[in-house]
Assembly symmetry: C2
Homo-oligomer: 314 residues x 2
């Protein structure tokens, strides 16, 4: 038996055929072409699944279920995508709509939670019972698994660790509060700091790399300049690492899970980025002794597909 898993993102829709142990047997992707109507995206998701089956000479009877990971606020009981920032999904009953298109049990889950399940199934948190998956990307998200189950609070709106204030009266966050972790630990934060620094220090490599057009500065500009020895950029990266660590220490003090897994685009920087963060954690957690394993995600973009697929494995 196989499980179908779909990772519905703002850029790509990727579907995978996943084995019992979480291994991806085959996958297939199509651009989301964001801005389209939900119905078109739902059609594409179904088509992607059908093609995957066809190409691998499988039939519906070989598939146990279809799981979909998507961003935004969900009503999982009803199967509804209530609201998603990045998609035209406004109160869409994804489960009902997909069941119309493909005769399988259908499950939905928040994308960060799917990534947490994926890493827990066969990635960096394999075998751990309490896991927090933190995604450092454009924003900062978290997927929380407690006692082997996804945790998102009594009303499904919990797990928003990115919107934990770590700097009261600090930078404005997209959520309307000031000083959220996301406003300091995201790629957007690096971009902001990079642009401010470039404006302040035209001699810095950050400024020079974009020939003074600071609109072109993003997180990568800052990282690259730091790699080339630019001190202004190195300071930004160092401060960024401290802020990431502050939020992680908070999560350890509150949850003390077996594992915190760091994923998301920024993680492509690897241990060079993460090692100094772990060093801070080692000295700063309450009680002085870090028992939680801190690791970089190992499944990359596949984590979401695997986690979505595993929703049907109960």
């Amino acid at each position: 038996m196989y499980y179908l898993g779909i990772d519905l993102g703002g850029t790509n829709i990727t579907a995978g055929l996943v084995e019992e142990d979480g291994k991806i047997f085959a996958k297939k992707s199509t651009p989301t072409m964001n801005g389209r109507q939900a119905v078109d995206i739902l059609d594409d998701m179904a088509e992607l699944c059908n093609k995957l089956l066809e190409e691998n000479s499988l039939e519906l009877k070989d598939i146990k279920s279809l799981g979909i990971g998507l961003p935004g606020l969900l009503d999982k009981k009803k199967g509804i995508a209530v609201y998603a920032n990045n998609l035209n999904f406004d109160n869409i009953n994804v489960v009902k709509e997909m069941k119309k298109r493909i005769k399988l049990p259908v499950y939905i889950e928040n994308d960060a939670n799917c990534a947490a399940i994926g890493e827990n199934t066969c990635g960096a948190a394999f075998g751990d019972k309490n896991v927090i998956y933190v995604t450092l990307g454009t924003g900062v998200g978290a997927g929380i698994i407690l006692d082997g189950k996804v945790f998102d609070g009594a009303f499904g709106g919990g797990g928003e660790a990115g919107h934990m204030v770590i700097e009261a009266y600090g930078e404005m966050c997209t959520c309307g509060r000031k000083g959220c972790w996301e406003a300091y630990a995201s790629a957007n934060a690096l971009r902001r700091e990079g642009r401010i620094a470039a404006a302040k220090y035209p001699a810095s490599k950050i400024f020079q790399k974009v020939d003074g057009d600071i609109r072109l500065i993003d997180a990568k500009t800052v990282f690259d300049a730091a790699d080339e020895g630019d001190e202004v950029a190195q300071d930004i990266v160092k401060r960024y690492q401290t802020y990431v660590a502050i939020g992680l220490v908070n999560l350890v003090n509150i949850f003390e899970p077996e594992a915190i897994i760091i994923g998301g685009g920024i993680c492509a920087r690897g241990s060079k980025l993460v090692d100094p963060i772990i060093e801070i954690l080692n000295t700063r957690v309450y009680g002085g002794k870090l028992k939680t394993k801190i690791a970089i995600a190992t499944l990359g973009n596949d984590a979401g597909i695997v986690g979505a697929a595993m929703l049907g494995k109960k």
Copy 2:
């Protein structure tokens, strides 16, 4: 059948006979006389229990179990009080020692968790499955109940919400980090701010109430001055409420529990203190809609006794 519960605090040891539904049938207290050897305190706890039984014409066979709530770091599996700031308890096997003295099943639990269980059993969080009890006192503590069970992480050191940084690079905290919630939402924080303000504004009532001897200023001085219309003191209280709210919003965003119960000494100020805090929460939680019930603890100091007693009710 009755349950025995003991609240072992830095000031008093209080034991209670508790009924099945959490109602306290009788209680009895003795001063902790802090600084004494652990063995003397253990003896006193046993004596308190025996006296309670005697005075109420009960025998051991009428009692199901003894539960003890105590501060500090515990190894609950082994029954050991590993370390407690306020007590001379250093790696004391409380369970073993108490079993020597009184022939009952003995359980131990962190005092904030006991208060959470107490409020959950018959107080402000009655019937809720996910509860966070926050104690605003000398420090800031939290007891977390998820899915009906005490949550303290994979290694027993979680639940330290007071040591969540809300002001990076902020005031020094007793834990060694800077900017913890406790450094802004505790009575000690109010004392600090009161003293600073008095030094700055000798015309303020805070200064005048202590005839300029700022060593005498504590949280109560600030609250009293605010009540009497002193603007400096009112500003401190307002800022204090904002900081309390920031931490609470963080907890709602992360946990979205059914209920957050606010207890601890500062809560004696009642709705006058708490109402403005709830007002901030109503506008600031992620998604803009506060579903979590925020309430003041109703059991007061009894919560710890009830919660400790209920440890044996499984």
